[in-house]
C-alpha cells in the first residue's frame, strides 16, 4: 500500500511538469463560382493538432503533431513522412513542433522543429524570413515550422536573436491545377532544393521612445522561382537570398506608428533585388483595434524569371485591419488589402463565438475582385464563405 501511495505521489509530481493542449477543427470553404481549372465549389478540411510539453528545471521539451484531411486532395493520401515539409501537398500526418529549450538566466537556446517569427508589422512582414507559409489557399495561409537552432540573449531592453537553419523549408505554393494556381496548368518537374544552410541575426531594442530592431538573413528564398526544363516543364528552385532588415514601433499618443523594411539581394542572376516596406498606424480604442497602412515595393535590379511570390504580390497596397471584441466569447474582425492601382481588392470579415470552455465557431467570408492580370484580382472567382468549428482541450 505504501508503495502504491508513493507511485501516486510521483505521478502527481510528474503531472505538474507535463502539460498538453490541442484541438480538432473542421472548416468548410464554399465558393459560389467555379474557376477555369477547378470545378469544386466546396472544400472540407479537418485538422487535429496535439501538443505536449514537459518541463524540467532549465529544460523544456515540446512535441506536437498535425493530422489533417481534406476533400480537395490538398492533403496527400499517403502517409510518407516528411520532416522538412518539402512536399507539394500538405502531409496527412506532420510534425508541428519537436524541440528542446534550455534556459539559463538571460540565455535561451531552442533546437528542433519550431516556429520563428520576426518583424512587427501585421498584414505583411518583410523581415519575417524564417517563416515559410502554406499558400495552398493564398488568402488563408498558415505558417510552417522550420528545423532550426535558435539562441536568444535577452535583457529588459535588448534582445539578440541568432538563428541557424540547416535546411530550407520552402513555402507551399498553390497546386497548379486548382483554383489558386494558374488558369491553364503546366507540368512540374521535380524541384531543385538548395542544400546549404541559412542563418540570421536580429537585435531588438526597447527604448524610452520607441522599440526598434535590425535584422540580417543569409540563405535562400522560401518562395520559388521557376525555370523551364528542356522538356517544357516548370521546375521550382529557391534562389540565394540575403536580407538587411529593420523595423520599429513608435507610440505617438493616440496612435502607434509601426514600420518595417527589408532590402533583398541575391547572387542568383534570375532573382530580383528589391526593397519591401510597410508603414502602418495602430490605434486601440476601448474594445476596438484599428490598423491601417501601406505596403510598398521598390525593385532596384530587375532580373526576374518566372516565380511565385504572394508576399510581393500583396505589396503596392493599402492594408487595413479592424477588430472589435464584443465580449469574452465573441469578436468580429475585418481585413482588407487594396492594390493602389485599383486592379485588385481582397476584403475578409469574420465573426467568432465561443460556446462553453471547449467549443468555438467562426463564420466569415472573403470577397476578391479585380483584374485578371493583377496578383489579387486574378483570384476574382475565388470569393468564398467560410465556416469553422473547433473543439479545444
Amino acid at each position: 500500500m505504501k508503495l502504491l501511495l508513493l507511485l501516486a505521489a510521483a505521478a502527481c509530481a510528474a503531472a505538474q511538469s507535463f502539460s498538453q493542449r490541442g484541438f480538432l477543427e473542421s472548416t468548410g470553404v464554399f465558393y459560389p463560382q467555379t474557376a477555369p481549372n477547378d470545378s469544386g465549389l466546396a472544400v472540407g478540411e479537418s485538422l487535429f493538432r496535439y501538443e505536449a510539453f514537459y518541463k524540467l528545471t532549465d529544460l523544456r521539451f515540446a512535441a506536437g503533431i498535425d493530422a489533417r484531411f481534406d476533400t480537395h486532395q490538398q492533403t496527400d493520401r499517403s502517409l510518407d513522412p516528411s520532416w522538412f515539409d518539402r512536399t507539394r501537398r500538405r502531409q496527412p500526418l506532420a510534425v508541428r513542433t519537436f524541440n528542446a529549450t534550455y534556459t539559463h538566466g538571460k540565455l535561451t537556446f531552442e533546437a528542433g522543429k519550431q516556429l520563428i517569427r520576426w518583424g512587427k508589422a501585421d498584414i505583411l512582414t518583410p523581415t519575417d524570413r524564417f517563416a515559410p507559409s502554406d499558400f495552398l489557399n493564398v488568402v488563408e495561409s498558415d505558417f510552417l515550422p522550420i528545423t532550426a537552432a535558435r539562441l536568444t540573449y535577452g535583457t529588459q531592453s535588448n534582445t539578440i536573436d541568432l538563428v541557424f537553419e540547416p535546411r530550407l523549408t520552402p513555402s507551399r505554393i498553390p497546386l497548379l491545377n486548382q483554383r489558386w494556381g494558374t488558369p491553364i496548368p503546366i507540368a512540374e518537374a521535380a524541384p531543385d532544393f538548395p542544400g546549404a544552410p541559412q542563418y540570421g541575426a536580429r537585435w531588438n531594442h526597447i527604448g524610452a521612445a520607441a522599440e526598434f530592431s535590425f535584422s540580417f538573413y543569409n540563405g535562400f528564398d522560401h518562395l520559388p522561382l521557376f525555370r523551364l526544363t528542356p522538356a517544357f516543364a516548370l521546375q521550382r528552385f529557391y534562389p540565394q537570398l540575403r536580407m538587411y532588415g529593420a523595423d520599429a514601433a513608435i507610440p505617438l499618443g493616440p496612435v502607434t506608428v509601426k514600420s518595417e523594411a527589408a532590402y533583398f539581394t541575391s547572387t542568383n542572376p534570375q532573382s530580383d533585388e528589391y526593397v519591401l516596406y510597410v508603414l502602418q498606424l495602430e490605434r486601440q480604442a476601448g474594445e476596438w483595434s484599428f490598423v491601417a497602412g501601406y505596403a510598398g515595393q521598390a525593385v532596384t535590379d530587375h532580373r526576374s524569371t518566372l516565380g511565385y511570390s504572394p508576399i510581393r504580390g500583396f505589396t503596392r497596397s493599402i492594408v487595413a485591419h479592424a477588430s472589435y471584441t464584443i465580449d469574452t466569447n465573441r469578436s468580429i474582425s475585418v481585413d482588407a488589402v487594396i492594390h493602389q492601382n485599383g486592379q485588385g481588392e481582397w476584403v475578409r470579415a469574420q465573426y467568432t463565438q465561443a460556446f462553453g470552455q471547449h467549443w468555438r465557431a467562426t463564420a466569415g467570408f472573403a470577397i476578391i475582385r479585380g483584374n485578371a492580370a493583377d496578383f489579387i484580382g486574378q483570384y476574382n472567382r475565388n470569393s468564398h464563405a467560410l465556416l469553422t468549428l473547433r473543439y479545444s482541450f
Binding site: P36, D38, S39, G40, V43, T71, H72, Q73, R88, R89, L175, L176, N177, Q178, T182, P183, I184, P185, I186, A187, E188, D192, R227, L228, T229, P230, A231, F232, A233, P239, Q240, T267, N268, P269, Q270, D272, V299, D301, H302, R303, S304, T305, L306, G307, Y308, S309, P310, I311, R312, G313, F314, A372, A373, D374, F375, G377, Q378
Partner: protein, 296 residues
C-alpha cells in the same frame, strides 16, 4: 515544318534548326526584335521593349483576341504570365518589368506535358455499374487499331528513326552569358586542338570564387544546359595559408535534341597569388553531329 515567324526568326529558319513554328499572328511588341533560342521541346523568343508591362499585356490581349484564343493572364507576384493553347503550339508568355521598359519571353512548345498531379474534388470511386456503362461507351480497340496506334506512336516518338549528319549550331555568343557585372566582356575567336571553332571571353573580377561558380551554374542551368562538370580547388602559400585557387563549370546542350549537334560552354576561373583578383575564361564551342560513325 514551316516557320511562319520568319520575320523574327531569320536565323533559325536559315540554319534549319526550326522544329516548331510559332503562330504567325504572335508578333513581338511593335519596334522590338526577338532573339530566338531552341530547346529540346520548345522554342523561346525573348525581347525587350521600352513600353510599359501594361502596354505589352494589352498588345498580347489584342493578338489573342484576333486569333480567337481565350486570353488568361495571371500574376505571380513578380510579373505577368500568359498561357495559351494555339493551334501551332502551347504558349507561355512571361512579361517582366525592367528598369526602363519590359522584358518578354515567349515559349512555344509542341505540346505541354499534362499536369502531373491529377486532382479531383471528390474521393468517391465509381461503382461497378458505372464502370461497366463507361466500358460500353468506350469499347476495347481491336488489334488492328492497337497496331496502327503503336505505329503512330513509334513515328511520333522517333523510335527506330535514321539519323543524318547535322552542322554545328551557329557560333553566336549567347546574350545571357555575361560577366559578374552582368555585362558582356570582349570576344575573341579561335580553334581548339580538335579543330573546333570557339568563341572566348576573358575578364578579371574581385568576386569570390564561390559566387563565380554559383553564377555560371545558375546561368547554364537556367538556359537549358546540363552541368557535366564543376569544381573548385584550393592552393596554399609557402606559409600554409589556404585559399580557393581555381575552378570551373562546364555544361552542354543539344539545341535540336539528342542525338544531334551540341553546344558546350566551359568557364574556367583561377588566381595565381594569395588574394589576387580572379581571371575568368569563358569558352563557347559548338559541335556538328556526325551520324555515320554512330550505331543506334
Amino acid at each position: 515544318m514551316k516557320c511562319p515567324l520568319a520575320a523574327i526568326l531569320p536565323l533559325t529558319v536559315q540554319l534549319g534548326f526550326c522544329q516548331l513554328a510559332m503562330p504567325s499572328w504572335l508578333v513581338p511588341y511593335p519596334g522590338a526584335t526577338a532573339e530566338i533560342r531552341n530547346f529540346q521541346a520548345y522554342l523561346e523568343a525573348g525581347y525587350a521593349t521600352s513600353a510599359s508591362p501594361g502596354a505589352v499585356v494589352d498588345h498580347y490581349r489584342k493578338l489573342f483576341e484576333s486569333a480567337n484564343l481565350p486570353f488568361q493572364p495571371n500574376s505571380d507576384g513578380i510579373g505577368t504570365n500568359i498561357r495559351g493553347a494555339a493551334a501551332e503550339c502551347d504558349l507561355l508568355i512571361s512579361i517582366r518589368s525592367q528598369a526602363a521598359g519590359t522584358a518578354v519571353r515567349v515559349s512555344c512548345a509542341e505540346k505541354s506535358p499534362q499536369y502531373n498531379e491529377a486532382v479531383t474534388t471528390t474521393t468517391s470511386r465509381p461503382t461497378p455499374v458505372r464502370r461497366a456503362a463507361r466500358t460500353a461507351q468506350n469499347p476495347q480497340p481491336s488489334s488492328d487499331e492497337i497496331l496502327t496506334r503503336h505505329q503512330q506512336k513509334v513515328a511520333e516518338l522517333g523510335i527506330h528513326r535514321t539519323y543524318e549528319d547535322a552542322p554545328a549550331p551557329p557560333l553566336v555568343w549567347p546574350a545571357w552569358l555575361v560577366d559578374m557585372n552582368h555585362t558582356h566582356p570582349p570576344l575573341a575567336s579561335g580553334v581548339d586542338k580538335s579543330g573546333h571553332e570557339f568563341l572566348r571571353a576573358r575578364y578579371i573580377t574581385s568576386s569570390p570564387m564561390t559566387a563565380i561558380r554559383a553564377l555560371y551554374t545558375d546561368l547554364l542551368r537556367a538556359n537549358g544546359y546540363t552541368i557535366n562538370s564543376s569544381s573548385i580547388s584550393t592552393g596554399h602559400t609557402v606559409s600554409g595559408i589556404q585559399q580557393n585557387a581555381n575552378g570551373h563549370v562546364e555544361g552542354y546542350t543539344y539545341p535540336d535534341g539528342t542525338p544531334g549537334p551540341r553546344t558546350e560552354i566551359r568557364v574556367h576561373f583561377s588566381r595565381s597569388h594569395l588574394n589576387d583578383p580572379i581571371e575568368v575564361d569563358m569558352r563557347f564551342t559548338t559541335f556538328a553531329f556526325v551520324a555515320a560513325r554512330r550505331q543506334f
